[in-house]
């Protein structure tokens, strides 16, 4: 077992990553050792990346211990690069993190400077040239080969022609070098796709009241609405992220069935969302940044009021479902689509009404037949006691929910085989024999025998599966 990482105190005592644990223990008998957990490290990095979202939406992970932020066009909001770095260092110190920020022209240069810079330099290019070749983050063999060839720093490499370098050390070496020195274009891949539209509000003095947050959201949705109108588009999803001054944040999301850009609708949805939060919004020391994003936009033609005045009734239902879904949960309101299966429990696919806006036609039953499927279905079916002839006679009487039902009329069996081609365990599954039965009082039930006598089951069970109107 070897050390994967050491803290500053251990480093001062001469321990380094890669040292065998036995050796380290021999040197420091009371060494505190914690198991290496790369996944937890990655989670922490993700969390820090979320906190860094306050500076720019373009944040990329550089595992195991780095983050790359594209701050083009964002730094002036914090008083330039230096101001941004100072802000981040203060926040990181508050969170108990030790950070090494480094601004640079390319992502690779920033990564290299953050990890390998030891002495200050007059400018970025000079600083880069002083870095060791390990800063290229190439494989260990290549770095060793470069060292053996006497090429110790980036400056040594940059001074040479690239063709012989790539011939001897590989194409990758020169490509990485070119990106590091800004001679080739290089971009970061942000963790999340950029939303189509972002509106931000920063506050010099953090706001600590929910009403102020709401007013601000109204204002921002109006601004987003104007921007969307200019693009002749509307949003289907809206997300507001409230950044607290102590680094915590809170997300609010709303979704609409039809594209919209109406600020009053959005304001109402956000109000519903905040009211419906399971744990209420806690401003703590206040929010210092609110970002309002529209991740998905769809075309939406400019709307026109009716000539004779009055509101448009069109879209009223969609708006109602948006409101109810925002307040109570989008999965609570469902529309149904038919599915091509004969297993009764799976005959309908329930979709949230927000996403399944357009109704789908259902197959029509055959004329002249009585209803063959029940109105209410029990899932899972309920076990019942049945008196029936063995092996496959119809039920005569059955006991369901502690009441005896005398069957006067029946029809069946309707035999439904299990979908053996979809089963994972390789067994064909049990056949169900369904009966429509009616009892003395006229109540109609759908019951089935699970399995065939002899061939599939020794004592097939009977189940109540549904109730007819």
């Amino acid at each position: 077992m070897r050390l994967a990482a050491v803290d500053a105190a251990a480093q001062a005592l001469g321990l380094a990553p890669g040292l065998a644990l036995a050796d380290a223990r021999a040197r420091l008998p009371d060494l505190v050792v914690v198991d290496h957990d790369p996944e937890a490290d990655l989670r922490l990095l993700e969390r820090i990346a979320d906190i860094c979202d306050r500076y720019t939406p373009m944040v990329a992970l550089d595992p195991p211990d780095g983050l790359v932020l594209d701050i083009s066009g964002c730094a002036h909001l914090f008083g330039g690069e230096a101001g941004l770095i100072a802000d981040w260092e203060a926040l990181a110190a508050h969170l108990g993190l030790r950070v090494r920020p480094a601004p640079a022209a390319t992502p690779e240069a920033a990564q290299a400077l953050a990890r390998f810079q030891t002495v200050p330099a007059p400018d970025e290019q000079a600083a880069l040239r002083r870095l060791p070749v390990a800063a290229l983050r190439l494989s260990g063999e290549t770095v060793l080969a470069l060292r053996r060839a006497g090429l110790k720093t980036i400056g040594d490499l940059a001074a040479r022609a690239s063709a012989p370098l790539s011939a001897r050390f590989g194409e990758k070496t020169t490509a990485t070098l070119a990106r590091l020195l800004g001679m080739r274009d290089s971009r970061i891949v942000p963790r999340r796709p950029l939303p189509a539209l972002i509106v931000e509000r920063r506050f010099a003095e953090p706001i600590a009241r929910v009403e102020q947050v709401l007013t601000c959201l109204d204002d921002m949705s109006a601004e987003a609405g104007r921007a969307l109108e200019a693009r002749e588009a509307g949003g289907r999803r809206f997300a507001a992220r409230l950044f607290r001054s102590d680094g915590a944040w809170r997300d609010l999301r709303v979704e609409t069935g039809l594209p919209t850009r109406d600020p009053t609708v959005l304001a109402r949805l956000f109000r519903e969302r905040i009211e419906a939060l399971a744990d209420p919004l806690d401003p703590g020391f206040g929010f210092d940044l609110i970002r309002f994003a529209v991740p998905v936009i769809e075309p939406l033609a400019p709307s026109q009021l009716r000539l004779e005045g009055g509101a448009l009734a069109e879209g009223e239902l969609a708006a109602l479902l948006d409101r109810l879904g925002t307040r109570l949960g989008r999965g609570r309101f469902r529309r149904f689509r038919p599915r091509d299966t004969h297993v009764p429990e799976q005959a309908a696919l329930a979709l949230p009404a927000v996403i399944a806006a357009a109704p789908v036609a259902w197959p029509r039953p055959k004329a002249g037949e009585p209803p063959l499927r029940p109105l209410h279905l029990f899932d899972p079916p309920q076990s019942i006691e049945v008196m029936a002839e063995v092996p496959d006679g119809p039920p005569h009487r059955f006991r369901w929910r502690r009441a005896m039902h005398e069957v006067t009329r029946y029809e069946g069996p309707e035999r439904l085989a299990a979908e053996w081609w979809r089963r994972d365990d390789g067994t064909p599954g049990l056949t169900r024999d369904y009966y429509r039965v009616e009892d003395v009082r006229g109540r109609r039930f759908w019951i089935f025998r699970h399995g065939l006598y002899g061939s599939e089951a020794e004592h097939p069970g009977w189940y109540m599966h549904g109730l007819f109107a």
Binding site: E316, P370, L375
Partner: protein, 264 residues
């Protein structure tokens, strides 16, 4: 004195203005297809009102739900959407609504939006909003037992909203006893033996429908009705020998000229 006269006339003008805003046209009546029921209802079921449907016993819940669905089918006539609101508890106890079963009753499940809500209070709140939405044809509220939230005020609120928007609200009550409410009509539904098909198979849906009460009309009537899925209407059972209209709660001799009404 003079001032109070002015106030009085101003008030009268205000009241006249409010009254003139009331819709002048008569409410839409939807015939159910069953001649005697339509006659008893004065032409048909009134759209844009609150109607209550009770399941006589817990086991009749499916019949009552089916009746609500049939009324909705008649009321909507292929237009608009139906919002069916249930509580989670009812969904667990009474079974899920099975869409192919809805289609078997002649209803298009594509027009249905099902809302499964955590409790009755949330359900009533959602319904109060939904009843105001003119794009919805029918709102069905399925409420089991006797929750405290469902009182006269709640039903009055629904009735007023329904009248204003023209959306019909059907209040489906399972395992409940009728109580005072603002509903236009109140029904009690129970299953009835069907007319058998060949080989003694259960036939078309047969219901025992009792009109317990209707506003400004006779109540306490009882019919046996069959639902004709192909023509989407109620009808008298084909085998007339089986059907005896039962005068409920009054002697058979009492004519229609002397209507008995249940109050409350």
């Amino acid at each position: 004195m003079r001032e109070s006269l002015q106030t009085l006339s101003a008030l009268r003008r205000t009241i006249a203005r409010i009254e003139s805003q009331r819709p002048a046209e008569a409410p839409r009546l939807v015939a159910l297809g069953h001649a005697r029921i339509d006659a008893a209802l004065g032409g048909g079921l009134m759209a844009g009102r609150l109607h209550e449907i009770f399941a006589g016993e817990a086991a009749d819940a499916s019949s009552a739900a089916g009746f609500a669905l049939m009324l909705a089918t008649r009321l909507m006539q292929g237009k608009g959407a139906i919002l069916w609101l249930r509580a989670e508890e009812g969904e667990a106890r009474g079974g899920r609504l099975h869409m192919p079963g809805l289609a078997e009753l002649g209803f298009d499940p594509g027009a249905l939006i099902l809302g499964v809500l955590p409790d009755t209070l949330a359900l009533l709140r959602a319904a109060a909003e939904a009843v105001r939405c003119r794009e919805i044809g029918v709102v069905v509220l399925e409420i089991g037992r006797k929750p405290r939230a469902l009182d006269l005020t709640a039903s009055r609120r629904l009735a007023v909203a329904a009248e204003k928007s023209g959306v019909t609200a059907l209040l489906l009550r399972t395992e409940a006893e009728p109580a005072p409410s603002a509903a236009q009509t109140r029904w009690a539904i129970a299953a009835a033996p069907s007319v058998p098909l060949e080989a003694n198979a259960p036939g078309l849906t047969m219901l025992e429908a009792a009109l317990l009460r209707q506003r400004a009309g006779i109540g306490g009537l009882r019919w046996r009705v069959e639902w004709d899925r192909d023509r989407l209407c109620f009808r008298e059972p084909v085998l007339s020998g089986l059907v005896v209209p039962l005068p409920a709660g009054r002697p058979a001799a009492a004519g229609a000229g002397q209507p008995l009404r249940r109050t409350g």
